[in-house]
Symmetry: C2
Subunit: 708 residues, 2 copies
């Protein structure tokens, strides 16, 4: 996949330059100097030779099959070169040049033309407006970066080229090695989805990292991330989420930033490990790259200093990890051999005078303890401390155990050479214990994701046709919102229970209907023309008997005719009055990158004031629906407090799935509320009292997951 | 204050050693080698000379006035040496030796004796079980640390000695300089309060840092922190807060860890800037040490890379800071001179090819903008970037402006020498922009604290005597909980409004009482012997008229006599039925380090399920009480939603103050709930429906703020 980008046999650089410091020069130099074994062809009509290579005045002069073209000419010449590439049957193109979408309207149009050319010729394109890419396996440095990173098993892609240069420089110091390193630029063609797929298949890549400001296609992203993350950790930093951030994002690469919530849901649903800062991205990357996944959550701390031990224990307590409780055997063994002042419980304090042998003894015993899944070894440089030797000892043990080991050697100059040793021997060190704990936590959470069962879906039996009919009618009228009756019809067609209701046209009919469904009832004027029914006295709640029904019937009719003499009146709706149960809310919103978001929360003030809601991207499976319910803060209220019975959780799950399927079947729904969905005690189901549905009605344009 | 510790004219080291690597040797060597100007006397009966100094066999051999004694002898000999020090009139002692509280019961007893000796002789003691201290001004290194830090304006104290060694090593790399550096050890005598006071007065200290696992005396800590933080930033890391952390803490230095909540409240109330990690402690320290405080929250970002600009903008959005909106003038000026592709709005993108002159031009203009309070300059190493020169430019501007400037030069080797320049010129650099933003945020929050008005207190008029009588009676009985009647009496004496109630002994009296207070009423059997009144049918709620009163009266009496014939019955209480209003909860708990914590929250599920409560340490002032109300998540419910009126906030404030004063006047209260406190709309007050009070009754021991 994309193999001509990562291991081409031949590369042509169009726009190669003699001038040092120019991008067209640096790329050629990078290709030559890092040991790339393929053939390199510089194209420059004005030069004879650049960095020792014969130059060509045009592509047609080169008599070789060309795998990869790197284009560095001014933006307005790129199109022409692409055509020449097509003639030469080059299928893989990197456009380094800027001057496209990121530079305004003209550039955006130019980029669109570029995209059309590429697709017409079935080429793949990386960029434009990018730094290029690096593949350490094939020694290909097809970028104008100033460095070649070390070989390693971390693949990195970035939506910011400048960030790449900073990271390469930083990585050299931290001995972080890469398998692939890719600057995506404007993502006209190749985007995160292609790259994640390529890295998934790459056997030299163990960990996939990325910096994103948005995704090109949310549905595809979720699908590929979900697949890949089951096999390899996929760690991403997403920026541009907040209001100010996304303002910066659109002026940067013109990406639609997408709401934070949609990204949060998408990452959760697809097993993406979200790093919150670039620092954290690499904190996580190193442990995944170096170490094995922990089998469980239990961490043992081994330290020669009390304070940092407490700091680490605090960090564990705040995480999903647990402090390991050492087995009796381990405690006994430690107690027998350690000085009496040492703490043999977790955190194990080996004391300030511990040399490497004491660290060895303790770690060897702790690593054997069945109650321990991971170890963090903390070291502060004391007078007696054998810093390098202790590093050696830890590395040696780490390399023969299947448990996770990280270290936090704290200090500066004194710990420097120990850090080098640990880097080489693949034990991740963190300058402060909190960062080590959060890296171990990321690993543990990832194991939970890996163990998660496959999505359990359920086909909802629904009357899709009748909903389609309703929507088509609405679209003809050009209205965005469905009437109350239509909305009720739609949700009912998808299996939502709704209050019983009948439209009565006479007092006698009304009384009979009320009798049939049982008192008390609600009475409402039924008219497509009367929107604010309460305002004209068109609604009465809690009507208790036949006499009241009849009285209100004539009363409501009279008021309606009086206030709105022109309105078409269909009769009066007699509706079951739903009593008891707990109010919840289901909702739908539409995110331009990911499509429909399903919302769930407790009704009333919990949604409106406390914003205690949760989101998932549709379609939602059974487990995700269950997670949504458990995730809200007010979950205990559903579960039942003060001896109350639990509400019918299965009914909520069922209704979330119905909603998910409805919006999947009808992407034109852009906004929807079922508020309240009254949920009764276990086994008693739920009733949707009110629904509000808005659909997209712009002509000839259907909003769908992939429509943008 | 403590001047003999920081600038003694003479120092004696008792337990000086010839053996390299021994603590008694290293301390002496440190004293000698870093330029300390005073006279140094080593005491060691077995040596003649150590590191070039004549040794003495005992203190009495030294014929000089001794200011500071450093004791390094084994724990069991320390007591004897202290006596000798007393004879020599030495008033300042550092005990380096371990083997005290941290090592078990025997050590704890030894430490208690030590404390008694010290106080008897009016000496001050640092330690035991500590690393010693360093004062860079007097070139005094009275520690066995392996390094002498650079001079600087940061003072640091630590409850963990090992952390000190790691920090010194780390600081050398990061060019962080210190004024004072102190390891507190077991804090037998000198503790954080003494040190904060000393640093407050020290003119070489601009920023005070500390690592704490607990405080010795919460009230004193709050008092001194509140005072000092108005003048100098006081930045603390507190660990040992969580369950696992505090378990580690007590096995470490035997400190009572104190609940996280009490510390949170104490830090909030005393202006302490809380750093959450050691890394953050120094991230904050550097900006406070180097830069001036921002006048406001508006930050401008100047960057040569889009991605990091977005990352920083995101971080600002998540903080209390704001993205500066540049003035029209600034935007015009930038637009005129920058390349057309540059973004002249915040974040200002100077583009990847920006050299130092473009940075200069932009920063000089932005710094003049009245809409900007602080600047973060971001740099990634691109081909054209003049890294050192840009650093010089930024430093030069930073040194002539009164606005806050920080940088985020991202990279490794390439940025190294620029970082050195910025260190020297006092511009704080952060490897990633998020850390820079959170440092600027800490500064801005500190300015808010500095501007906060002085505590506004209010003396509550209360019948203290009658409460004392109640408590004394209870104490005699040995009961911990007050009866319902007594609790009502107590809160009423402190001005809480309670429902009207009268004990009636006849049907006629009952009917009259109910008539007077207005229907409906509550009727309750009144008997000190009947605790579970409802269980025997002794409570009726919502009695509506005279007839009902009379009927229930005889009925309740009959039931009570039937179920509990032995009970003393005082009559039937007729109580006003409180309707309307919103239920809130006030509470008190007792923290061993800080004393009484006042709690406030919304009643019912908000407290029980959502734990939506807030705490402050008593005494609470008017502003703090107001903050408490605004702080809970459900505050909008008090403020009124859906067109409701606001509740009577002043009444809540008033009641918080009453509660605060009650527990201040009566420290024996260890637990208290006013649940619910029903609050009515604005101007209508609040009524405490129910109160539960527990007092400490152990004989001859009164729980007070300072009693532990």
């Amino acid at each position: 996949m994309l193999e001509h980008f990562f291991s081409p046999k031949t590369v042509v650089v169009v726009g190669a330059s003699r001038e040092k410091g120019k991008v067209g020069h640096d790329i050629l130099k990078n290709l030559v100097q890092y040991g790339y074994k393929g053939r390199i062809y510089p194209v420059n009509p004005k030069a004879e030779e650049i960095v020792g290579l014969k130059t060509y005045s045009g592509l047609n002069e080169i008599h070789d099959k060309l795998d990869l073209a790197i284009i560095v000419v001014p933006a307005h010449c790129v199109g022409e070169i692409i055509d020449e590439c097509a003639e030469k049957k080059i299928d893989s193109i990197i456009v380094i040049s800027a001057g496209f979408k990121e530079s305004g309207v003209e550039g955006a149009i130019r980029e669109q033309y570029l995209y059309q050319k590429i697709t017409r010729h079935s080429m793949r394109l990386l960029g434009p407006n990018c730094l290029g890419l690096i593949d350490t396996q094939s020694c290909l440095n097809a970028s104008f970066a100033a460095d070649m990173p070390e070989k390693g098993n971390i693949a990195f892609f970035s939506q910011s080229g400048a960030l790449c240069t900073a990271i390469l420089d930083w990585a050299a110091d931290e001995c972080v090695g890469f398998s692939k390193f890719i600057s995506m630029g404007n993502k006209t063609d190749i985007n995160e989805v292609d790259l994640i797929n390529a890295m998934h298949e790459d056997e030299n890549t163990k960990v996939i990292l990325g910096y994103l400001e948005g995704v090109k296609n949310g549905k595809d992203f979720i699908a590929v991330a979900r697949k890949v993350s089951k096999k390899k950790p996929l760690i991403l930093v997403k920026s541009g989420g907040t209001a100010a951030g996304s303002k910066a994002a659109s002026s940067h690469t013109g990406t639609l930033a997408g709401s934070e919530r949609a990204f949060d849901a998408a990452f959760k649903q697809s097993g993406v490990i979200r790093a919150h800062t670039i620092e954290q991205l690499f904190d996580f990357a190193r442990i995944f790259s170096y170490q094995q996944l922990p089998k469980g959550a239990r961490v043992a701390l081994v330290t020669n200093a009390g304070g940092p031990g407490i700091i680490a224990a605090d960090a564990i307590e705040r995480s999903v990890l647990k402090m390991a409780e050492l087995s009796k055997d381990t405690i006994e063994t430690l107690r027998r051999s350690l000085p009496s002042m040492a703490n043999v419980y977790n955190p194990i304090d080996v004391l300030g005078d511990a040399k490497s042998d004491r660290y060895r003894f303790v770690i060897e015993n702790v690593i054997k303890d069945p109650n321990v899944d991971a170890i963090l070894a903390i070291l502060t440089p004391q007078a007696m401390t054998e810093i390098e030797k202790t590093a050696e000892v830890i590395c040696e043990i780490a390399n023969r155990t299947d448990k996770t080991i990280a270290t936090s050697f704290m200090g500066g100059k004194r710990t420097e050479s120990a850090l080098k040793i640990m880097c080489q021997k693949k034990v991740p060190n963190y300058p402060f214990p909190e960062r080590a704990i959060s890296a171990i936590e990321a690993m543990y959470k990832y194991t939970l994701w890996q163990k998660k069962p496959a999505p359990e879906t359920k086909k909802i039996v629904a009357d899709e046709e009748s909903v389609r009919t309703v929507f088509n009618q609405i679209k003809k009228t050009g209205a965005a919102y469905l009437s109350e009756e239509s909305a009720r019809h739609v949700i009912s067609a998808y299996g939502f229970a709704i209050p019983k209701s009948i439209i009565a046209t006479s007092e006698a009919d009304a009384a009979k209907a009320a009798e049939d469904m049982g008192y008390p009832v609600v009475m409402k004027i039924s008219s497509p023309d009367i929107l604010h029914k309460s305002d004209i006295g068109g609604v009465v709640v809690g009507v208790k008997n036949e006499q009241e029904v009849k009285g209100h019937f004539s009363d409501i009719m009279r008021k309606a005719r009086h206030h709105m003499p022109e309105a078409e009146i269909k009769g009066i709706m007699i509706q079951q009055l739903v009593a008891g149960g707990k109010e919840t809310v289901l909702g739908v919103s539409y995110d331009p990158q990911f499509g429909h978001l399903i919302m769930f929360g407790l009704g009333g003030i919990y949604v409106e004031v406390l914003r205690d809601v949760t989101f998932r991207i549709a379609p939602v499976d059974i487990n995700e629906a269950r997670e949504m319910i458990r995730e809200i803060r007010s979950f205990p209220l559903l579960k039942g407090v003060r001896g109350e019975k639990s509400v019918d959780m299965d009914a909520i799950v069922e209704n979330i799935l119905r909603l998910s399927q409805l919006v999947t079947d009808f992407p034109e729904i852009i906004e929807m509320d079922i508020n309240p969905l009254v949920v009764f005690p276990e086994g008693k189901g739920a009733i949707a009292i009110d629904a509000r549905i808005a659909i997209h009605v712009q002509q000839n344009k259907r909003i769908g997951g992939n429509a943008f």
